[in-house]
């Protein structure tokens, strides 16, 4: 599950910079509470994405005085997102067209 988080995180960060807890909340809201991954596993994913240069993290102090690490999309990340988005769309269309094929029965053989 953790590896499939990457494109979702890229999409979320496309709109605005965000921090781990906020990203998780957005994923939880949009999935209608269906997201079952341990929240902490998002952070290694963010770290991996940062190492690949797709996102950039900066420590910032919130109004409450609490420090959070904010992530934003880099230009490399934007390119990656476009590529992954078209790939996922392609795979999605392929799955749909394969799914909609009539079921074969022994009489068809």
């Amino acid at each position: 599950m953790a590896s499939s988080l990457a494109p979702l995180v890229l999409i979320i960060l496309r709109r605005q910079e965000s921090y781990g807890y906020q990203i998780i909340q957005e994923l939880r809201d949009k999935s209608g509470g269906q997201l079952t991954v341990a929240e902490g596993t998002l952070y290694p994913v963010l770290k991996k994405m940062e190492a690949k240069g797709w996102i950039e993290g900066v420590w910032k102090k919130a109004d409450s005085g609490r420090e959070r690490r904010y992530y934003k999309l880099t230009s490399k990340g934007t390119q990656e997102l476009e590529q992954q988005y078209s790939q996922l769309n392609f795979v999605n269309q392929l799955i749909n067209s394969l799914w909609n094929l009539p079921l074969s029965t022994s009489s068809n053989l």
């Binding site: 807890y21 909340q25 902490g40 609490r66 420090e67 690490r69």
Partner: protein
């Protein structure tokens, strides 16, 4: 209603520390996970939960240390690399300094005992018992190899810097000891002389034999560590003697001959008794090999093991016989040795059969 004693900051720190102690997250990762816990706890409190309830749910959602450690270790390879270096430094320090510290301690003991009791029954008793205890300790530690490894692993994972730093202590102790005037041992020569005390100064066969026993045990222990590197089970005699490799048997044969030859230091005057004690060592080895390989190629194993001994005993023995003036001690030693090996094989096979019958 009692006031709550729950301390959020303490609880968050303790939870994050438990993950950090697994050794796969950096300080920055820990800070990020802490921030997450605070945010999540706040959000549950705003839903009407108590601080403690909110914290418990936040932790559950964050994930346990096992899951997080596994995921983080995929993205923090440098932590693994640092641990490898920590093992290397610690290993060098321990393997270099512990034996030298041990030798220094032993030499100091010899000096003290010799100065107090000279060569007497008391000094023989103290030193022989010490040698036997040391031998037992060496084999005890080898048997506890798994536990020791686990302990070292835990130390490196949880407190890398502390473990590496502490491993320098045995390295430094001999240097400090040399600086203390009453204990000052000026050079290696003096240390060497101190080490040879049991052999030359205590003038006791038991001291000498137990000394060889301890020294050969140290070498044997080091060899056991090398030959068990691919074995995962707890170390027992079976680990080494069941289907042994040729290289193990060759090395074992050399140690065996050295040990068997060291029984001569007991200086038994009657040649047949001396040869009998000598042969007992080979009998035991042959028994072990035959017992653990009762369905395998025992003869091949026995030949490889005893090859070094037979060659040494024959070549060195004949020379010694000529030097002594045509004695025939070699005939005794070699023939008793061969008989010992054959009897050991017979006894080993009989025991193995009995053992199998009992199992059935």
């Amino acid at each position: 209603m009692e006031p709550s004693t729950f301390n959020l900051k303490q609880s968050v720190n303790s939870y994050i520390d438990s993950i950090k102690n697994q050794g796969s997250i950096t300080n920055s990762d820990a800070a990020e996970l802490s921030a997450h816990l605070y945010d999540a706890t706040d959000s549950f409190i705003s839903l009407g939960l108590s601080q403690e309830e909110a914290f418990v749910i936040a932790c559950k959602r964050l994930g346990n240390e096992e899951v997080l450690t596994k995921e983080y270790s995929k993205v923090n390879p440098s932590i693994k690399m640092n641990q490898i270096w920590a093992y290397l430094i610690m290993g060098f320090n321990l393997f270099y300094s512990l034996p030298s510290l041990l030798l220094l301690g032993i030499s100091l003991l010899y000096l003290t005992v010799y100065q107090s009791y000279n060569s007497s029954f008391t000094s023989t008793l103290i030193i022989t018992v010490f040698h036997l205890l040391l031998t037992a300790l060496i084999w005890f530690l080898i048997r506890r190899k798994l536990e020791i490894s686990k302990f070292l692993e835990r130390q490196i994972q949880n407190h890398s810097l502390r473990s590496v730093s502490l491993s320098f202590i045995p390295f430094l102790v001999p240097i400090f000891i040399k600086l203390i005037p009453p204990l000052r041992i000026n050079n290696r020569l003096e240390l060497q002389r101190a080490l040879n005390f049991p052999v030359y100064k205590f003038d006791s066969d038991f001291v000498e034999f137990s000394f060889y026993l301890a020294i050969l045990s140290m070498i044997g222990a080091a060899i056991s560590l090398v030959f068990s590197i691919n074995k995962i089970e707890k170390l027992t005699l079976k680990t080494f003697f069941e289907r042994p490799s040729t290289s193990f048997l060759i090395v074992f044969g050399i140690i065996l001959e050295l040990f068997a030859a060291s029984t001569r230091s007991l200086h038994v005057d009657i040649i047949s008794v001396s040869a009998l004690i000598f042969a007992t060592v080979y009998f035991s080895a042959s028994y072990l090999i035959s017992f653990y390989n009762s369905n395998g190629s025992i003869n091949k194993h026995l030949v490889i093991t005893s090859l070094f001994g037979v060659v040494m005993e024959t070549a060195v023995g004949i020379n010694a016989d000529i030097d002594r003036g045509n004695t025939i001690y070699t005939v005794y030693y070699v023939s008793f040795m061969l008989v010992g090996i054959v009897l050991g094989k017979v006894a080993g096979l009989m025991s193995a059969r009995q053992f199998r019958l009992q199992e059935v």
